[in-house]
Symmetry: C2
Subunit: 323 residues, 2 copies
């Protein structure tokens, strides 16, 4: 939730004049998106409804061609996601108020705050289609938040971890060692969304209508994307793991893209690692809040609980599937 950059009238007008989308009839800062400044734009031409994003410093400018190119590639292969709009100079990634900026089409749909089972099924189906559609995308972006990056994050937080929760430092240290030793290397890989939390998945009439916010997308194991979603979609607010949701998500995924035996066997470890990743980044954001962020840091301990769940199960059968 943030609007970091104020855009002057003249700057906005001049910026929009470079596109074939008519003139601005409304432009409102949107209270979402932690990393960037987002505006809902209505114009009297083109589709009439757009989203304008100014990329703030937390998003590396060098990665923007990957993100913009990926949305365009996926949209061209039938995935419902924001489509970058090209200006008359042919460019979709431009500059506004001194920041990299892009206009994308507005995607109808609402994110669900409390996913129900049918939403998890829709997500599983959509995620598998996204994984297939991403095949052949020519740009590369290694995951910047995977195992080798976790220990430096941990080191930064380690001295204060026990103040946050008793014994947390030792538990994180042990988990890191497990992950560094056991993280799989040869599972099927490709483009993953890497942040398909309920905020970033839209539904219309309970059917998935699209994915947004590709700013963590990268190349990694496809099953790791599923692991992220197991954590983000299948736990209830009270911490209970909802096996029905997990079963529906995984079944719908496999109806489009069946998992190999190796992927299936790796799921608990991937989910445990994914929980560790979000635990570490949340802990870091909690201990070192970003200056100017308008959003309250999220509770790291939610992910400690999830980590322990995946550590303690006997295998992927705990996700409600035959494995």
């Amino acid at each position: 939730m943030a609007v970091y950059t104020e855009v002057s009238d003249e700057e906005l007008e001049a910026f929009i004049a470079d596109y074939d989308i008519g003139e601005v009839i409304s432009c409102k800062g949107v209270a979402e998106g932690v990393e960037n400044s987002n505006y809902m734009l209505r114009t009297d031409g083109g589709d009439g409804a757009y989203f304008l994003t100014l990329y703030e410093k937390r998003v590396a400018a060098a990665d923007l061609p990957y993100f913009i190119g990926l949305m365009e590639y996926l949209a061209g292969r039938g995935i419902s996601c924001p489509l970058p709009v090209h200006a008359r100079d042919g460019k979709a990634l431009r500059t506004l108020a001194g920041r990299p900026a892009a206009i994308v089409t507005f995607l109808d749909g609402v994110s669900v705050r409390r996913p129900r089972p049918q939403h998890c099924a829709g997500l599983g189906d959509g995620l598998a289609r996204l994984h297939l559609a991403g095949g052949g995308f020519p740009l590369r972006r290694p995951n910047g938040l995977t195992v080798p990056h976790w220990r430096p994050l941990f080191m930064h937080c380690a001295s204060r971890a026990d103040n946050f929760a008793a014994g947390l430092r030792a538990e994180l240290e042990a988990e890191l060692t497990v992950m560094e030793n056991q993280w799989p290397a040869n599972l099927p890989s490709g483009v993953i969304h890497a942040d398909a939390f309920p905020d970033n998945v839209f539904f219309l009439h309970d059917r998935l209508s699209g994915f947004i916010d590709f700013y963590f997308a990268c190349d990694d194991m496809l099953a790791y994307d599923i692991a992220i979603c197991l954590n983000a979609w299948c736990f209830e607010a009270d911490g209970a793991f909802n096996v029905t949701k997990a079963r529906l998500m995984l079944t719908a995924y496999q109806a489009v893209r069946p998992l190999s035996a190796e992927e299936m066997a790796a799921l608990p470890l991937l989910a445990r690692g994914s929980a560790l990743r979000f635990l570490l980044t949340r802990l870091h954001d909690w201990l070192f809040p970003v200056d100017g962020a308008l959003v309250k840091p999220k509770d790291p301990l939610e992910y400690l609980h999830k980590l322990r769940f995946h550590r303690d199960i006997s295998g992927p059968g705990a996700y409600g599937i035959d494995a």
Copy 2:
């Protein structure tokens, strides 16, 4: 800039189902509005674009029928402003997530951050039309932030005023005494917007397209509304008073509703009082920030500077008009 209240999917769906506006296809928290939670709503029926407001505690629930009724009254008399939408039960003011809530039509237009002279002319014309259209509105709401309310605000801040700026306490005290002794009593009165800052006035192609945010509207002297606008629209960012803007605003106003000699003569005092009012409320918000507010308090000293300008001029001729 604030979204205070999170609305659950189920609550929103049930709320919207009570209106004849179709189903929600998008709902985004808007990063504006200090007092309330605002959402841009797109639906597959009706006008398709709406604004949903949840009224937070800073807006007195008892005043809401006045605000909602006023927007409906003004819209019915040709003023472009958000039109409250009635649910099937006939009510425009309802309840969502435990708060009073209303849906209004979405008003096209953009607010200008740096008004140019033609915007000031458009505002003058529009404000005069608003004042005429408000005639006969049957509800009453006394101004809750006029002279008698200023001293209590001052008393609350007085002990810390000099820490904020040297000599401020004595200067505020002296100004208060002037206002309490000289504030006019018998000027033409009626419905005033009372907060027609550039944020709250929309333009399309540099023509005024409407007024929003009527949550300070009240009964008071019409010329006081002009005085508020002189302060909010006619000073440059560097503090200079732009007499061209003031002249255009006042000339356009008078082409619709001529000012009496008494109103004209009172303008400098009203503008000085208006500056004191915003100086006091800003100082109060600075010294006692609202818990949970996501907006940075505005600089009180901007209004000290404006106050001094109006105190030091020789008469309304300084606003560029024959007086």
